[in-house]
């Protein structure tokens, strides 16, 4: 686990690039880094830290301004997630308000044994929650479907985030388009169906949601180890007003305890900013394209403005999480075609610059 660090990843890339160049006598060949999300951060950082090995980088949906020391809006992830459920983003008009209502109903039913018993069939749980607290945990778990639906909100069916239809968030919201006045059961069933869009519901063997299951360690996410040791990203705050989640604010003390308990490591909230330097360091670099989509919850932590002739930002209207790195598709919006054209133009410049050095 001590080798699991972003610096080690970058050093591995460096050794690999040198090895490939040496092995194939390819010193003059240009190298371009591509990556989306965490890999988009790595692509940008690789260019920033190893400009001699990589001629340029495409950093798609890379949340590299999510760290303390930047002007971070820790609630933007939740706010964008909520936005993708609105009619402005093409979803059914009642979706957001019904999602809020569903959570209230679950909390209310959770107060009584009868209510909790009824949650089981209504939400398709494998067993009834034993307390209101448990009911709310289940509700929160369900809510985590919506960031996924937003990130995966591609204009065509994909399996990238599990088996998803085209515009999965819209499909989910379609289950919540009604008014549901006085029909809490129907609302909760719609909520459950919406969440199910993200739960890979095509798997017929899954008959109920086993909220009580303990997941194996790797499912707890090795990313959390990175989050503890290096990449303490501030993206999980919610105010409950401008987003449809239950309010929460990150707590360094509590997060430190979790990191110690789970991995036996110390939380290092300042590390990423110290090593990678956020906007200041990006400005000192060159030959990077930062792309971001407005359907992507991570977009709140990316670079949206060009910072120089060779630090170019491109925004993708209707873009989900690194849509530009997916294959071309007939359903692609014009915005992503244009973004790819910008990326191609920049890559051509970087390649030409390298060729010029050997002429």
């Amino acid at each position: 686990l001590r080798f699991l660090s972003s610096e080690q990843a970058l050093a591995d890339y460096a050794v690999l690039v040198r090895h490939v160049k040496d092995t194939f006598n390819a010193e003059e060949s240009p190298v371009i880094a591509f990556g989306g999300s965490y890999a988009g951060m790595l692509a940008a950082w690789f260019r920033m830290k190893y400009p001699h090995l990589v001629d340029g980088a495409i950093a798609a949906s890379a949340p590299l301004l999510a760290f303390e020391g930047q002007d971070v809006d820790a609630e933007s992830y939740a706010r964008i997630t909520t936005f993708v459920g609105t009619s402005a983003a093409g979803a059914a008009p009642n979706c957001v308000s019904n999602i809020r209502k569903a959570q209230d109903i679950i909390a209310k039913w959770g107060t009584t044994a009868a209510g909790r018993a009824q949650l089981m069939p209504t939400l398709g749980l494998c067993s009834a929650p034993p307390s209101q607290e448990a009911a709310i945990v289940i509700s929160d778990n369900f809510m985590e479907a919506f960031p996924t639906l937003a990130e995966a909100n591609y204009p065509y069916a994909t399996t990238y985030f599990g088996d998803m239809p085209a515009f999965p968030y819209r499909v989910a919201c379609d289950y919540l388009r009604n008014d549901f006045t006085d029909d809490d059961v129907a609302l909760l069933r719609g909520f459950r169906a919406a969440v199910g869009v993200a739960l890979d519901s095509s798997d017929d063997s899954v008959q109920c949601f086993d909220w009580n299951a303990t997941s194996p360690l790797e499912d707890q996410g090795l990313f959390m180890y990175l989050w503890c040791t290096e990449l303490y990203m501030l993206y999980m705050d919610r105010d409950g007003q401008r987003d449809f989640f239950r309010p929460r604010t990150h707590n360094i003390t509590a997060d430190s305890e979790t990191c110690r308990a789970t991995w036996g490591v110390e939380l290092r909230p300042q590390w990423a900013q110290t090593v990678y330097g956020g906007l200041d360091a990006i400005k000192a670099s060159s030959n990077i394209v930062f792309s971001n989509g407005n359907f992507d919850p991570w977009g709140g932590y990316g670079v949206w403005d060009s910072l120089s002739d060779s630090i170019v930002a491109v925004s993708i209207d209707q873009g989900a999480h690194h849509l530009d790195l997916m294959f071309n598709h007939d359903n692609d919006p014009v915005s992503v075609r244009q973004a790819r054209a910008v990326e191609l133009r920049e890559i051509r410049k970087w390649v030409q610059a390298r060729k010029d050095r050997y002429m």
Copy 2:
């Protein structure tokens, strides 16, 4: 020992700068890195890798092009060392030829027991060498005084490299200014006296040269550990024609074995170039002044040409190892005053640029 690496040193600086800025609420304050020799490499690399933490760097006599992958002249260290003993560098005319002759005489005397016995008083050894091989090892040890004399060849007395007079190399060569035809003893005494200039001869307790002494581990130089693990600098080759040393060429296999035997580590000849990237990486950076002196054996591995508006090279005629980082002195040549003026001008630019960002 696992913490002894240049990357760790840079990361330590990074954490220190952040800590100081946070503690003293000094986010807006500019930070300038200074360093000579290895520290000059670190200063440049710190700016290259952490441009968000340091606004510029003065890298004096920094041999950061001494690595495979660059166009390295591995003999330049020996050649410059020899040059500083010539009249072109202000030394007595016969100095270089007498140094060559002295080595030949030692090798010749080494072939007979009588000759080896006579080496003891003539060279001021604590005991006579038991073989010709031992005599040559002693001769080689003595020869290592000259790189030190060259590096330390400041125009005034210093204690930086031990207790040295002004222009110590010239003082050493003054012992070798005669013709010494047919007077090998006088020549060897002159050689010993010249070498003695570098041996801190002011210490009256040292009566003889104890060539047989084993030095403690730290005297073997922790730098060699760095040289093995990261900084395999190609500076020790000699051709014996354009320099006055016995010929030798570096041998990766032999060096690997030495590193394994001494420190239990693997030699990594490609590492520095992979991580720090030589000229290519420097070109991608900004706000660095590289200074070099032509009296400095390390000058063969430095940056002598400006690479951009903000990567500025400055050469110091008669400059020994990072002369510009010493305090001002009446004996300073005009060249070093000019170099410092350039450095000051660049630093002012860097400071102004940072101030402009907070106006």
